[in-house]
Symmetry: C2
Subunit: 265 residues, 2 copies
């Protein structure tokens, strides 16, 4: 089991073999002008990225989605995601950027007000400083707690999932609080949001993540299939990058200052 809230070191080969993540290097030759992190093998795995390749090469309509949990300062691990977003953006992707204030409340007890402040002053400021144009027409930045479409979709998703499912995917137990149990479903809705009517309906979306986020992708792919008839959702594609090993030898984490090199240092 992979724990998205943990901070441990990963055996990448095992992930590729056991969890159905495919080897990214096999696709590399098919991508015109691949991103630097692809060429260097930092992006080591994917799901369904082969469906994105013709869209990227042909500058066709597709989406890229990412989320940020505003829980501390940004570190150079975050820069890997931003570099990828910039590359997709240059390839013509529309960009959906979720500020995960519901997650930071459920997981860290950070108020919505505080999360918004951290997101604007720390995260969005760095995104802009690193060259991502967040004011472009095809960019949607939003706070989870403020997005009505997202919350309605989350509740619909919640009807298709039970405690057994959440236990199997995330290792939750009966003493997990209900907000923590609910918030992965908000993240599933985050990933599917770019395919809702409000954003032009079903399309291919890719989610570049660290491999610790794969449980969300597996759950989302399952939910997309269940909601396909009603919404026409396509399964989201994903890529997986290696973690920067933190200064302590563990995963670099915003909320553990001794593991991280912060972007403002």
């Amino acid at each position: 089991m992979i724990d998205p809230w943990g901070s441990s070191i990963v055996d990448y080969d095992k992930l590729v073999n056991q969890f159905g993540i495919k080897d990214f290097s096999e696709l590399l030759g098919k991508i015109e002008d691949p991103a630097r992190l692809m060429k260097r093998g930092v992006i080591f795995g994917h799901r369904d990225f082969d469906k994105l390749v013709p869209l990227i090469n042909g500058k066709k309509d597709f989406g890229v989605m990412t989320g940020m949990m505003p829980s501390g300062q940004m570190h150079i691990g975050h820069k890997m995601v931003i570099d990828q977003l910039k590359w997709y953006f240059e390839k013509g992707a529309s960009l959906s950027l979720s500020i995960a204030d519901m997650e930071s409340y459920a997981a860290r007890g950070i108020s919505f007000e505080k999360a918004k402040e951290i997101a604007i002053n720390e995260y969005l400021a760095n995104y802009i400083a690193l060259g991502l144009d967040l004011t472009a027409d095809n960019v949607n930045v939003y706070l989870q707690s403020q997005n009505k479409t997202l919350n309605d979709l989350t509740f619909k998703i919640a009807k298709r999932v039970n405690f057994n499912n959440m236990q199997a995917i995330y290792g939750f137990n009966a003493s997990t609080n209900i907000a923590h149990l609910y918030v992965p479903l908000v993240q599933v809705a985050d990933i599917l949001l770019p395919q809702t009517e409000e954003f032009g309906g079903p399309k291919q979306v890719v989610v570049p993540v660290g491999v610790d986020q794969d449980p969300h992708l597996r759950l989302t792919r399952d939910i997309a299939a269940k909601l396909n008839e009603e919404y026409g959702f396509l399964a989201p594609a994903s890529t997986y990058h290696r973690f920067l090993t933190g200064l302590t030898g563990d995963k670099m984490s915003s909320s553990k200052p001794n593991t991280a090199i912060y972007l403002n240092e």
Copy 2:
């Protein structure tokens, strides 16, 4: 265990003895001009109603809260609640009326659009026809799914409750869907909403219910205590009325046509 979604017959004495519900008849002499259903003993039990009595007698500020799940036609069982609301309204209460579209989606799969239509054409129309002035300043009618304050409060509540709690109170199991698990917390938020800043802050609120709804009250009283420090919430009071025995001998239920006498018959 009492099942709010079941339709079975109740031993009222046992409820008064075992679940901490107090005998209403002991308060009857203290209430000036009591409601007809109080005098007739249809309202048989209460929690903390003694705290309401001086406010009612003195025409002081207090609230009354009720919810309606738009799942079918209204029947004469609903009229008992409306009669009580009218009485409280005459006594100067402010009224909070939740249209439980999130509940009807989670429990019956009714879409928000359909729920709104049923609520307006069937329920609210009957409330008005039976003499309740829903346009008055001190009346707040809302759809759960459309109320941002309610949904934020629900999520905060969800952080204070775990699966064990929900299992103990409602008998949920691991195959209960997450929307069904979440929606009682929306109802807790419904009950506490009249005490939020938006509605003037903490005050005494009474919830007149059938005894099958008592699990929501017990959970809400527990949550009110947990959120007291942050919000100043007072424990809600409640009254319990006997069910009309349905035409089949079971509880009268909107969604079981053969048990009910509908208001438009």
